[in-house]
Each structure stands twice: as structure tokens, then as C-alpha cells.
Amino acid sequence: MKALMIVVMLLLSLVGNTAAQAAVPTLPGSTIDCSSALDTEFVPSWGEVFVNQDTYVYGKYIYQWMYWDKPSRLAWFTANGDSTYEPDALFDGSGSGYPEPAHTQDVLPLSPGNSSTAYGYYPRNVFYNSGDIAIGYWASDLPSPYQDTAWGDNGNEWAVTIGTAMAATLSSQRVYYTVTRMLDGGAISGG
């Protein structure tokens, strides 16, 4: 079988600065979506992603590299010292460009090739395997990295995520990386 190899260059362009600053949560453990924050204040200026499979059981993995070229691109983290940063990877086999709302909170993540599980995923159901990620190896040099769980996520998100618990300590002019195995969604890209 021809090995799958996809290299996706993320040249993260600036998005319009029209949105308002997101509100800061008031409760410990609460989460907000910062998509409405000024994108130039948290989006890396450069990134690269590499997904592949190997001969081992479970076989698929994803690397992410990211880089902020100047401190101003980290301004949101500086202003929100308790923030985490989670570069989610979502795989979509529908061609729609967005994960389909095909999953509910309590289904088992065993639908190869379906929706956002198409290529690979982390277990979505918090009750599945007692909430364990249980995918094998992971690593990162983000500050205080952790494996994210699906707790609190939308039902259609099967994100693969290594996050940083100390986003305020990210530095500009430095490359960071994450790598993690993920559960196999069954699909290959076909190039």
C-alpha cells in the first residue's frame, strides 16, 4: 500500500480586524471561543502540518509546527494571562469544508470515513474509555503542554489537540511543535 503523505503548509494570512475582542470568562474552568478576537493577536505568522501513517498499530499521527514572528501577534495571550491555546486539527471527509453535525454526545467514535472522523480523531465521547485519550505517544515543546479532551466541545468536533496551559508564556521568534498519535478514521487521502 502506498504510504500516505500529506504536507500541508499553513501560511496563515491575516484576517480582517473587524471583530470585537472576546469577553474574558468569569468562572474557573469556563471556556470561551476567541474566534472573534483580533486575529493578528493570537494567530501564528507561520505554521506547518504533517500527517502520515506508519506501520504500527493505530498508525496515524499528526505534527504541527507554529511560529509567531513578533510579540504583537501574541498580544491576546499577554492580555489574558490565564488563557490556554489549543490548535485543533479536524479532518473532514465530506468535502463541505466543515465538520458535519453528524455526531451526538454519546455515540461511539467508530464510523470510519464519516464526517470529522474521516482520517483521524481523538475520542469524542467523554464516556468512551472513561474519558481517556488512550492513543499512545504525544509530545510538544509548547509551554506546559497537555492532551486535550472532548469535554465541553461541540458534538460534531472530534478534534486532535495538544494544547498549552500557559499561552501567556509563548515567545515570538521561536518555533514550537506538537506531535500526537490519533485514532484511525479509516480514510486515506488519495493525494
Binding site: 500529506i6 472576546a22 474574558v24 468569569t26 468562572l27 474557573p28 474552568g29 470561551i32 471561543d33 476567541c34 474566534s35 478576537a37 493570537f42 506547518e48 493505530y58 505534527y63 509546527w65 511560529y67 514572528d69 495571550f77 489574558n80 490565564d82 488563557s83 490556554t84 491555546y85 490548535p87 485543533d88 486539527a89 479532518f91 473532514d92 471527509g93 469544508g97 470515513g113 474521516a118 482520517y119 467523554v126 474509555n129 474519558g131 488512550a134 499512545g136 505517544y137 504525544w138 509530545a139 510538544s140 515543546d141 506546559s144 503542554p145 497537555y146 478534534a159 496551559a165 500557559m166 499561552a167 521568534q173 521561536r174 518555533v175 511543535y177 498519535r181 480514510a187 486515506i188 488519495g190
Partner: protein
Amino acid sequence: MRTIKALLLFFLLAIPAVALAIPPVDVRVAQAEAGFAQVLKNTPEKEVRVAVFFTNDISLQDARMALSYSPLAVKGFRHGTQFYSGGYSLKQGETLDEAVANYPRDHLFFLQKRMEMEDKMLVTATNAELRNAITTHRKEADQMKADFDKNGIRVIGVEVGGRAKDIQDFKDRNSFARVIELKENGKPQPAIVP
């Protein structure tokens, strides 16, 4: 062979802000100790999931040996320093012995893959500042590889499940066990690095 032609990989650079998610280490250690002490006092028989972080790093074999004397269910290992971190979460059906064999295999595999990919990035990077940053990162990988070649995986914590009193017993029997921190759903649990 199943092919999905329209596989799209896209990244939502979502930045959930978790208020007070990770306090300073000394505060976090104190909170962890208090939280587990309460469980131990009130419900010592209760099955809980925890991470046990160490006072110093130990070899994977030593960690495996220490765990072999306890009734705890091993869920994963943590490794790392102040500069990088990671771990290995046991897959469903994977035995502890298999995990102990697979962990260093994967660590080396992924380290070598990282070095290979960053070498390619250096060929294509045109921005001088970015190129310098990649070069620095690549050298750090060299150091990680040297550390691994010399010392293997150095474990700084384990994730286990079991009765609270058995987890406390594991800590009491192993002087390298620094703090027990309960695993809470939805709460990031980065390693407490020695």
C-alpha cells in the same frame, strides 16, 4: 482501499481561555494535595483517576518496576523537562509491558521524523528570522536525541487509576512520588516538572 478524495485538513486555531486553569506550581501542588487528601479521608475505597508527579525523573524501567508492586491500573506515563514534555497513554488492550516497549520506540521514531521534517523546512524557508528559529529548533532536537541515546525515556509522572488508599500507598512506598493530582474532566493536566 478506501479513498476519500476530498479529505480536507483544516485547523481551527481556537483559543479557549480557561480562567485560572493552571495556577503557579506551588499553588497547584498545594491544591492537589488538599484535593486528594479530602478524597482519601472521606472515601478511601473510592476508585479515582490521578496523575502522580515525581520529585525527580526516573527510568521507564524503574517506573515500571515500582508500578508492578501496586494494584493500580496504569493509564499512562509522562516525560519531559522545563523545555519539552509529553507522554504515552496506554491504548485499549495494550499491556504495561507492551507500553514500556512501545514508548521509547515511538519517542525515537517521532524525534527522527521531526528532525527529518525540519531539515526539509530549512531548505524551503526564505525568511531569515524564521530560518534562524527553525535552525534553533532543529538543534534542540539534536539535544533531545542525545539525551535519549544517553538516558532513554526519563519518566516524571504516571497516570493511574485505583482506590484512593492504594494510590496513597504507592506514594508512601516510593520516595520519588511528589504529589498526587486528581484527574478532572475538562481540566488541562500538564506535567508538574521536577
